[in-house]
Symmetry: C2
DNA sequence: TAAATCTAATTGCATATGCAACTAAAATTT
DNA sequence: AAATTTTAGTTGCATATGCAATTAGATTTA
């Protein structure tokens, strides 16, 4: 009966999402390296969010990116050292530190986006738009089921 | 034109796979904790593989699980300390160490599988089998596209 | 208003992971 | 057969991440 259960699991989405994610991750890193883009995946995610929510509080940024606030703090420190972002203390609330994308960060992000777009059109080769739409819908439903009780962040990569 | 490219990216699968993966990961950890199953996601993956490939070399195990051999070494050491696996030096090849699932490992794995199965049937609630099949096919194609040149491992979670 | 509570950020400790360097053993080359 | 190369595993260094504890500032309560 163990093998029976394993069989059921293998027919579920659980293994496939993990495999695909991992493959995409590696692919992205390779593409960035071979195109001379000095960013990690997480850093692109963060820069993209900042480009649309510049000056957001670390707190909120952690929530948006679905990341522990401690993890976010260290991520931002790393990115600050690389000159991708800067921080300012909030004038209204002494606890809050706001995060901004720098000019350098904008330039690097701008160079990264077309690489990502190219990569994804490669990766989705031979897959119809209908299939992609269905897949996105399924993934959305899964996420909704998973986070039925918890509040969830909306932006990620 | 930057926002245009961002828009295209958001319509690709890249963001969705990542989000779903992260949500599933957290969900799995929670389910394991609330069911008293002392395993991480990676440890279940490894035990499942061992239950079907008992005595496999670390080398091969790293390949199968798509993991760096250094990472695998440390993972196995952790699992050995927890009594989930044991190791033996290969008799044929002095370099090789073979990994075995222990009785304790088998028992814990057996208790984990139904939890996983239950979780996934919950997670896939409201999604038709056809939709799931299409999604799996799409994910398979993506993986094939990504790993077109590289050799790729077949088992994962 | 003073005390208690809550919140934002940071730091310590833990796990997981990758690359590079290293060791030891096997396989190949010369 | 000896030297070179390859392979399996380990360890050092780096990043990323989470939970728990801490600090400092804001808010609520008594």
């Amino acid at each position: 009966m163990l093998s029976n259960k394993i069989f059921e699991l293998d027919k579920s989405l659980l293994p496939w999402v993990g495999r695909t994610m991992k493959a995409l991750d590696y692919h992205l890193i390779e593409h960035f390296e071979s195109n001379g883009i000095p960013l990690t995946k997480v850093q692109v995610i963060t820069l993209r969010i900042l480009s649309r929510n510049n000056g957001v509080a670390q707190n909120k940024l952690a929530f948006i990116t679905n990341r522990d606030k401690a993890s976010l703090t260290r991520l931002i420190i790393t990115m600050e050292k690389k000159g991708l972002v800067s921080r300012e203390n909030s004038l209204e609330d002494g606890r809050v530190r706001r995060v901004f994308i720098t000019e350098k960060g904008k330039i690097i992000l701008d160079s990264a986006i077309p690489v990502l777009v190219d990569m994804m059109s490669d990766v989705q080769k031979g897959i119809s738009q209908e299939e992609i739409d269905i897949t996105i819908e399924v993934l959305k439903k899964i996420r909704a089921n998973v986070n039925a009780d918890e509040q969830m962040a909306s932006i990620n990569l």
